[in-house]
Symmetry: C2
Subunit: 240 residues, 2 copies
DNA sequence: GAGTGGTCTAGACCACCAA
DNA sequence: TGGTGGTCTAGACCACTCA
């Protein structure tokens, strides 16, 4: 073994696998080598590789499929598509929302966004504004900010082509996969502009969801602010 | 082995351990038998017991401490006290809130609460109303509903004695431990009564948090509605 | 039937903790 | 020093998938 030392073997294996993911050695949706193959490659026993993969699987970074192999998780697959969406209808169902793009243009990072995305204040960003509709009625007003460099290819056309599924686009077009996100929720009253865009009275209570999404290695990549009407929907959370 | 069959051994072990927890064979905070002891008791290898305990530990039902043993998780311990509290100050810190009890009386279950608590509509419940204060200013208005039978001993005096830490009281006084909770969040405007109790203007946006808490075996035991001011606090959530 | 992940075992050694 | 959980191994067998 000539790998990073002084931590459990399976942790080192986990790090090595993560590095291969970062390097795009295996792309989202593809199978990674089998457990025995990785075991011989890293010169450890299968059980040790297994434990490393176990952890990556519970973190939703890899997906095991018995009899087939272990795959790089993706936002593409059915059933995982809405993994980060916690907003559900009153009856508990998650429905696909319609996407109406309002704008997609370059801008400069505000100090708050810059801090959260770990870039310099004022650096170039791509800003996307859109409306998500539920049965033709506005439900969410989204403001998305991306650092310009890694997201150079993001255009209105691309977003339309993916029907507003931003994470799927990041993955397939840019090879950037979001693995984790932090959300901060507050209740606010709709101001003039927001009330206008959502078609509401001034001061209507809205659920404000600020989200920072991270790719491998806890690198923040996307900032997002969603303002949601919660008359017929609610944010669902399970605590353990 | 004369235990439940047709599922992986470690799952059966997990079930057996859970049953012992339900039966209060080991109480919150106590150590359970060592892995080797359980292995001989159940006539399986230590690794199999280990895997069962692993899962119970990731579910926060048991807590491992190297060199000491495995313990029944508790809301008593420092650092775990606020496990279900997702409301943090703007700077990200969790602070203990002051508790002002408004009322504690018997009532009848509304149809919604009855459905969520899995009891009959109109059956006897205990209703607690309280105000949580942050630096002497009202922050949360709580309405808590408990089925009367298992929670017979809940009185205003008891609640005061535990300084408003309901889960600690359930555990130590009644042996009821909450292991999981579902929360539904919406944004609402303060109505007359709420505005009055929180000292706010009518229509002030509030974060509404409806929570159902479960004990072992997914049995719902507590319903709770919290109305929170989010001027200087927010609800923090981590998505994986 | 060959290859994959899933379970189970038995035993070794390490790291930590308490008396 | 003895007991606990934590890591690692090697090998067996099972369950599932696909050609």
């Amino acid at each position: 073994m000539n790998a990073p030392n002084f931590s459990p073997l399976y942790q080192q294996i986990k790090t090595l696998i993560t590095q291969s993911l970062v390097a795009n050695e295996w792309r989202p949706g593809e199978a990674i080598p089998s457990e025995v193959e990785l075991a011989t490659r890293f010169n450890v026993s299968q059980g040790t590789v297994r434990k490393a993969i176990d952890e990556l699987a519970t973190e939703n970074i890899l997906v095991r499929r018995q009899g087939k192999g272990t795959f790089v998780a993706t936002h593409e697959a059915e059933g995982i598509k809405l993994r980060f969406l916690r907003l559900v209808a009153a009856d508990g169902t998650k429905e696909l929302l319609n996407n109406r793009l309002l704008s997609c243009e370059r801008g400069k990072a505000s100090s708050r966004v810059a801090r959260l995305l770990n870039v310099k204040t004022g650096s170039v960003v791509i800003e996307v504004k859109r409306l998500l509709l539920f049965s033709n009625k506005p439900l969410i007003l989204d403001h998305i900010v991306l650092p310009a460099t890694p997201f150079k290819g993001v255009t209105a056309e691309r977003i339309e082509a993916f029907n507003g599924s931003m994470y799927r686009m990041y993955e397939t077009q840019l090879g950037i996969r979001m693995v984790r996100a932090d959300e901060r929720l507050t209740a606010i009253g709709a101001d003039g502009e927001v009330a206008n865009q959502l078609g509401l009275a001034l001061g209507t209570p809205l659920l404000s969801i600020e989200r920072v999404s991270y790719t491998y290695g806890d690198k923040p990549m996307e900032w997002r602010l969603g303002l949601c009407l919660t008359d017929n929907h609610h944010y669902m959370n399970e605590l353990e």
